[in-house]
Symmetry: C2
Subunit: 210 residues, 2 copies
DNA sequence: CGAGAGAGTCAACACCGTGTTGATACCTCG
DNA sequence: CGAGGTATCAACACGGTGTTGACTCTCTCG
């Protein structure tokens, strides 16, 4: 039943929860997780600090909710990645890595906060690890099949290679997004990463089309 | 003047400072920086919490002192790295990366704490960045000269490549040391990293000796 | 309609870790 | 001996997290 004429005095619980998460994404865009107090999150959502605890049992719990949304997006997008690497390996890898970059750019604040929280919070670590594994499994499968069909040389375990390259992506992209030193120019990032992936997977500068 | 017969009731300031740093390295080996309180550091060094502030103005300041020692070691060891890449490129790179790995392994606690603190503390960030740059400059110089002499293909900026590969090392090694998932086996790490470096620098599986 | 039941809210409180202050003891050197 | 730097710590102030208990609003059902 929609509220008529006179609006309901109180906004619904779900809206409040969303308001908290929205406030959080916004604040994490400008400041670090530690520098955002629960007080601010609550004020941003129009409630008092204790009421925040009605919605989330802790600040980390809220980060988990934020991260959960991102993970769903990641798993969905990874499952839709094309697997036709035979015809244009370089292009296919570049598109895959590009998607990785896009997700990080779109959720920079959450990603940075999660990476920091990972060190102290088991649940955050588990959730982050789940998302990294989506990418690792995808790339590991593709590398293994490229090795199987003879397009990529053996001499390195497909899974080890996939893990290392994905960790490189994570680290290089956060360095770029947080304007660290040393880092590379944002405009080069995708190009540089793709080049490294392709050279180290195929052992050559120019993997042949077939 | 050495204390005679009767020992000085009070241990010297320098010893106390060292005791704090030693306690810190030990505790950081088992717990995260945030989980180590100043109270514990002080107790470990046989002093009270306020006295800790006589030696360091904050916990971060102490981390800085810890990191400073590591940086000196890094700069020293980097400057001693051989540069004879012409005769045995693969071996030379493996030895260089091996040294990177060694430093991380030897100072695992400090490295992990510094990486976490980097996000919130400017001085830690600056110091860490200085140490990364030692490695980046070294590798960037070597890559550029390999490209110049025609042993390594162009098509990627030497500095961008050096930054990315060094960031990969940082991330992969911390993942290994902290037993993250996904990560690779500690015993493979050096081998996997070297392979990726060599393939992506030389654009081939087997850079020729000359 | 009116008495629960739930959801939602918050003032006040307890706690813990950081950083500060001021008083005091010790040690050395003129 | 006594002045001045070195070293020490009890007690305090502060800020952020998480908890409690009482209150209000709204919806439902006899």
């Amino acid at each position: 039943m929609a509220p008529r004429g006179r609006r309901t005095a109180r906004v619904s619980g779900d809206e409040r929860q969303d308001a908290i998460l929205t406030t959080a994404e916004a604040l994490l865009g400008e400041r670090s997780f530690d520098d955002v107090s629960i007080e601010e999150l609550a004020r941003g959502a129009g409630i008092s600090r204790p009421t925040f605890y009605f919605y989330f049992s802790s600040k980390d719990e809220m980060l988990l909710a934020l991260l959960d949304r991102v993970i769903s997006e990641v798993e969905h997008r990874v499952s839709e990645l094309p697997r036709n690497f035979e015809s244009d390996p370089a292009g296919a890898w570049t598109r895959s890595i590009g998607m990785f970059v896009e997700v990080f750019v779109a959720h920079r604040g959450v990603a940075t906060a999660a990476i920091a929280a990972r060190a102290r919070n088991d649940e955050v670590r588990a959730l982050w690890s789940k998302s990294m594994q989506s990418w690792v499994d995808f790339s590991s499968d593709v590398i293994a099949s490229e090795q199987a069909r003879g397009a990529a040389p053996d001499g390195i375990d497909a899974h080890d290679l996939a893990v290392s390259l994905n960790l490189m992506n994570e680290r290089v992209i956060t360095a770029v997004l947080n304007r660290e030193i040393p880092a590379i120019a944002e405009s080069h990032a995708l190009d540089v990463l793709s080049t490294i992936w392709i050279r180290s997977i195929y052992g050559s500068v120019n993997p042949g089309r077939s």
